[in-house]
């Protein structure tokens, strides 16, 4: 149909090359370099000092059995990594992170797109509705977690609401049932983060030119066809970025889980990050904790690399990758 020919990206034109006169060539080369050095150094130092060095140090600690006090003397090689991967609890934690990541994409994405399309239409009280959808995102995770922790207690607000509308049979032990707790948490995560997806997609929708919709309408496309073949393809870059942020967020999930369940009951909602704090900080096993942190980092990093390489390639061409 019509999707093939559409592109919004301006054609990349070669930058005109100004011929430099012989005498000024040297100065003109030196100056950009100085500028680069001057402007980049602060950021680079911060990045090295607070990102690269800590990662390296964590990698170093992870090779030791170390309780955080005194010198590092007990070199154990990769034992910490082996211990982590061979433990049921950590395996479960990785599984929980993956479940949340998959659910986020499968459930939150269609929901976000639907809400964004709805809120992009001209309807009464649109600004208010947008605000309502976005409001939970503004709350801190800690506040969200405490509110839901209290509402989800047996006989709490959620149960009362369900009973009030005659759905008392649906009442569950939301946070105490080991087979349910992860999905309860997912609902809270969705409640909290749906607004972010909606706002992102709404911004993306503003980039869909009205002319294209008009052209589609003139060609006799139905509303559904216009959405499916004009709007959604143009939202592609936004959706791909959202998926990226969402998956990384799911892998790093911590605050909500920590406050609402501490990873329990019986590790039914442990994530990699809660496992790290539980077994690293709380047990004074800083070497082991570092190993878990490194594993978490590598998983996120590998995902990010592959995603950049294969999914975001077109969107970020020239900005993050080599232009050619």
């Amino acid at each position: 149909m019509m999707s093939a020919a559409i592109t919004t990206r301006p054609p990349t034109a070669p930058v005109p090359h100004a011929p430099a006169a012989g005498g000024t060539r040297r100065r003109s080369r030196l100056r950009p370099r100085l500028e680069l050095a001057f402007l980049l150094t602060p950021a680079l130092l911060l990045f090295i000092g607070f990102v690269l060095i800590p990662i390296g140090v964590a990698g170093y600690y992870s090779l030791y059995s170390w309780n955080g006090f005194g010198p590092l003397t007990d070199f154990v090689g990769l034992d910490n990594y082996v211990d982590a991967f061979s433990g049921d609890v950590f395996q479960g934690a990785i599984g929980h992170n993956l479940i949340i990541a998959v659910l986020s994409v499968v459930v939150q994405l269609p929901l976000s797109i639907g809400l964004a399309l709805l809120l992009n239409r001209k309807l009464r009280g649109r600004t208010f509705l947008r605000m309502v959808v976005f409001a939970p995102y503004v709350l801190s995770e800690a506040v969200t977690a405490v509110i839901w922790l209290l509402m989800l207690q047996p006989g709490g607000f959620v149960d009362e609401i369900l009973r009030g509308v005659g759905l008392g049979g649906l009442v569950q032990l939301w946070l105490a049932d080991q087979s349910l707790v992860l999905y309860t948490l997912f609902v809270v995560i969705t409640w909290k983060y749906i607004g972010f997806g909606v706002i992102l997609l709404l911004a993306g929708l503003q980039g869909v030119p009205a002319e294209l919709r008009e052209a589609a309408a003139l060609d006799g496309a139905s509303a559904w066809q216009t959405t499916r073949h004009v709007v959604l393809p143009l939202l592609g870059p936004t959706i791909r970025i959202w998926i990226f942020l969402s998956v990384i967020g799911s892998l790093q999930l911590f605050d909500l889980v920590w406050i609402m369940t501490l990873g329990g009951p019986a590790n039914a909602s442990t994530t990699m990050a809660t496992y790290l704090v539980d077994h690293g900080f709380k047990r004074y096993e800083f070497g082991f904790g570092s190993a878990v942190a490194v594993i978490l980092f590598i998983i996120c990093f590998v995902f990010a690399l592959f995603y950049q390489r294969f999914a975001l390639r077109r969107d970020t061409a020239g900005a993050l990758t080599g232009a050619r």
Partner: protein
């Protein structure tokens, strides 16, 4: 204080700026010194009480001044190891003693105050033991804590329970009566895990002799069969289903639906908790009279157990000094256990004073009862998660919590200690 507030988030930010203040001064010289003091009383009235006590001390000891930094309870877990690893640890900081203190000694920065405390440690008697490692004093408590059953007198009366249970059988009978009366017999904050551990610990304390308990802590092992038996007793107790529905997801201290909240609002009759519970309950209910509606009784004895029924499970709040200004710091610790300060602390009801003079100044009825039980006790068993090295204690707590959630058995609990001690994750 053991009342852990889960809200106090794990502070990753703590990595950044761990205590950098603190003025000049040296342990060896008599010159002016500024002590950096990390305590965990971030709320009133204790926050300003500590400030007042420090100011008063400065008036009589002009050479000693303070930089006070109140920190959230949970932050100590991450901040103290980092600070002890750095070059400017606080001079004086919250110390729960036991296995964590022994861990911290490996930093070489905790001051041995055996000599410096010899003039004032006497009246503390057995209360000071938890802050000893290898016979040396590495800190001192200013308040002690003990765990027991808090119960609603009014609900007990309604359910026809005339005397507080003194044996587990009587406790089971009370549970049955309360169920018949339509009340949750016991509230439990299982989400937070440590309240679960109180039950296992008390069944162990009632089953095992004091010697066995001491040896178990010393050797970090639970090989004596009494610990297995304790787990079996606990299992039988759990089988009576004495707790509220979904207790594994219930927080201990947050909101009316928490375990403390359930008792405070009359939805449950009992809770096995520390002496701090009346304050926690008061914050969770509109009922201004709650303080007079609750009473306290010690954990009942177990038929056939070797344990002394007078033994209490407990712990304490104390401080340790670091080496830089150990002398001034130890002098201040002596001031904290002196009669004046102990009397002030007694009035706050935030724990049990460590000296007889302080205990005599207690006003609240339940606290007087607990303090009397504490004085009478032949032994105060430290919470096992505190008594054992940190990694072992936490592993034990986690295993017990899993047991409450239906995973593992009495043997798993016993094994978790030896496995954690052996370095298994």
């Amino acid at each position: 204080m053991r009342s852990r507030k889960p809200l106090a988030l794990f502070a990753a930010a703590a990595l950044a700026l761990a205590g950098c203040s603190g003025g000049g001064g040296d342990a060896s010289t008599e010159g002016p010194v500024t002590l950096t003091w990390w305590h965990n009383r971030t709320t009133e009235p204790m926050k300003s009480k500590w400030q007042q006590i420090a100011d008063d001390f400065h008036k009589t000891h002009p050479n000693t001044s303070f930089t006070i930094e109140p920190l959230q309870n949970e932050q100590f877990q991450t901040k103290v190891p980092l600070a002890l690893q750095g070059n400017t640890p606080p001079d004086l900081f919250q110390q729960w003693g036991g296995g964590a203190l022994a861990d911290q000694l490996k930093s070489g920065k905790i001051a041995d105050i055996t000599q410096a405390s010899s003039g004032w440690i006497g009246p503390l008697a057995k209360n000071a033991d938890g802050w000893k490692v290898g016979g040396k004093q590495y800190g001192a408590p200013y308040l002690m804590h003990a765990v027991g059953f808090w119960y609603r007198k009014d609900i007990f009366a309604t359910a026809g329970i005339t005397a507080t249970p003194t044996t587990v059988d009587e406790l089971n009978a009370a549970v049955t009566k309360l169920k018949t009366a339509g009340v949750v017999p016991i509230a439990l904050g299982g989400k937070d895990r440590w309240p679960d551990a109180f039950y296992w610990a008390y069944f162990a304390v009632r089953q095992c002799s004091v010697d066995t308990l001491k040896k178990a802590v010393e050797k970090t092992e639970l090989t004596d069969p009494c610990f297995l038996k304790a787990g079996e007793n606990l299992k039988s107790f759990l089988d009576t289903k004495p707790f509220q529905d979904g207790f594994v997801g219930t927080p201990a201290q947050q909101g009316a639906g928490s375990s403390a909240g359930l008792v405070a609002n009359g939805k449950a009759a009992m809770e096995l908790q520390g002496d701090w519970n009346p304050d926690v309950m008061q914050a969770l209910t509109e009922d201004k009279e709650i303080g007079s509606k609750i009473g306290w009784f010690p954990f009942p004895s177990v038929p056939g157990g070797q344990g002394d029924p007078s033994v209490l499970l407990g712990g304490g709040d104390g401080f340790s000094c670091t080496t830089r200004a150990a002398k001034a710091c130890a002098e201040f610790l002596g001031h904290l256990v002196g009669d004046d300060v102990q009397k002030i602390l007694a009035e706050t009801n935030s724990g049990l004073p460590v000296t007889p003079a302080g205990v005599a100044a207690l006003k609240s009825e339940p606290h007087k009862t607990i303090a009397a039980a504490m004085t009478k006790a032949s032994h105060v068993q430290f919470y096992f998660d505190t008594a054992f090295p940190t990694k072992v204690g936490q592993a034990l707590n986690d295993t017990i919590a899993n047991f409450f959630a239906g995973q593992g058995g009495p043997d798993t609990i016993v094994k978790s200690v030896s496995e954690a001690a052996a370095g298994n994750k």
